[in-house]
Symmetry: C2
Subunit: 245 residues, 2 copies
């Protein structure tokens, strides 16, 4: 079973105060980039993997999605997601993406934000999602970028000329990474970008777009602290489709 | 016109002594990975973009390619490539990839090793290659990895815990990078991995494989200095195909 850090009370308290949890999608600077990668939502059956508080699930219904199934491992998150909607076309379920099975061909869009890097068996998950999508269905997801995750101690440093830099080491050594983020020893799984994309291709997806989030000039003007995201890629955004047979 | 550093005498002298120039393909540790990405070569019409001394061009003919057109900007390289073969099915030509035009549908495989990062207008080049390929044709190329190229001064450093690391900065700032490598101010063009893949997708290619070269255990045992290539990706290897219409 995946580590369920989100039900750790200290973690949950800190996490819940993040701008993206307080303000929802508009608190996530990568949201405009994700939005531009999403297919039209009208009439779509959507599964939201790692739905958290359900911000995206609710937004997709507002955009006309026929139904949204939100999945999360965290009882805390699902409890609040359920409390925040009375929409009968949104269903929330507690489940572990390591073992989740979905019905075949039941969805038109699988969406996931910042969740898959907690999953150890990415290949299994991607194969399961591929089966769960109808022909011409789409998969759009974001993860922490492997350049952000790779190092044994990821943090800003100055290089020997004083240039603010992000150190990369152990990039090709895939597997567990533990970081302290609201709690000690949060467990993530590092995979190279090649491994991530090749798993998708091997499971039958066609890659449509690969974005390494960088803030726009306007975003940096509004939130100067975002400028450092120009230095190293923190987030990887991928869209892919399941071709009709 | 692209910078033609290869005809700088100092550069050429140093470059010609690299193991991969002295020993050819077996001097390039990424060669087994490239080879596994290549389609069967029998009967194929191949264009080798940035062919250098022609090591790969000759190898492809040995594997049964019907013809190979080798292209390089460097007179020095092409002169030696021509001197090293009497095969009438290998043709070498001096040309600049910034402006090269190839006949439409004339090739089954476009191959390029460590050349495209010298090209400013990657999108134009990829569109031209797409047109030059027959339906079901393949494109296989390697470039310096954007993580390797991004920093203003790319070099090994120790992080503040003494861990050997590769600093990344300016990753999202695309464009010129100048490094000193056998000569001062060698000019390369940094593009994010997303930009590279999206240009290919936008020009009509399907991405088949994305590899970030890492040495195998056997390679590290044989050449211990390769171990550092596990720390950060130095080379990006991509294969793609032009789908039949």
């Amino acid at each position: 079973m995946a580590q369920n850090i989100y039900d750790n009370p200290d973690f949950f308290t800190g996490y819940s105060r993040l701008p993206r949890q307080v303000h929802g999608l508009r608190g996530a600077p990568e949201w405009p980039a994700i939005r531009s990668m999403l297919p039209p939502l009208a009439g779509k059956r959507v599964v939201d993997l790692g739905c958290g508080f359900g911000w995206a699930s609710r937004w997709m219904r507002e955009q006309g999605a026929a139904s949204v199934l939100g999945i999360d491992l965290s009882r805390n998150m699902i409890a609040r997601a359920r409390a925040d909607t009375a929409d009968p076309a949104i269903d929330y379920r507690i489940a572990d993406l390591e073992t989740l099975e979905l019905p075949e061909g039941a969805f038109d869009l699988a969406y996931s934000a910042l969740t898959f890097h907690y999953v150890k068996d990415f290949r299994r998950l991607i194969g399961m999602i591929h089966k769960a999508l109808a022909a011409d269905g789409d998969l759009v997801f974001t993860i922490e970028h492997p350049v952000f995750m790779a190092a044994s101690h990821p943090h800003w440093i100055a290089d020997d000329e004083g240039r603010k830099s992000w150190p990369v080491n152990g990039y090709s050594i895939e597997g567990e990474r533990r970081t302290d983020w609201f709690a000690k020893g949060v467990l993530k799984y590092h995979r190279t970008l090649g491994t991530t994309l090749n798993a998708m291709i091997d499971e039958g997806f066609e890659i449509r777009r690969v974005e390494e989030f960088a803030p726009t000039r306007e975003q940096v003007a509004e939130m100067p602290e975002l400028a450092e995201e120009l230095e190293r890629p923190m987030l990887l955004l991928v869209s892919a489709s399941k071709p009709a047979p």
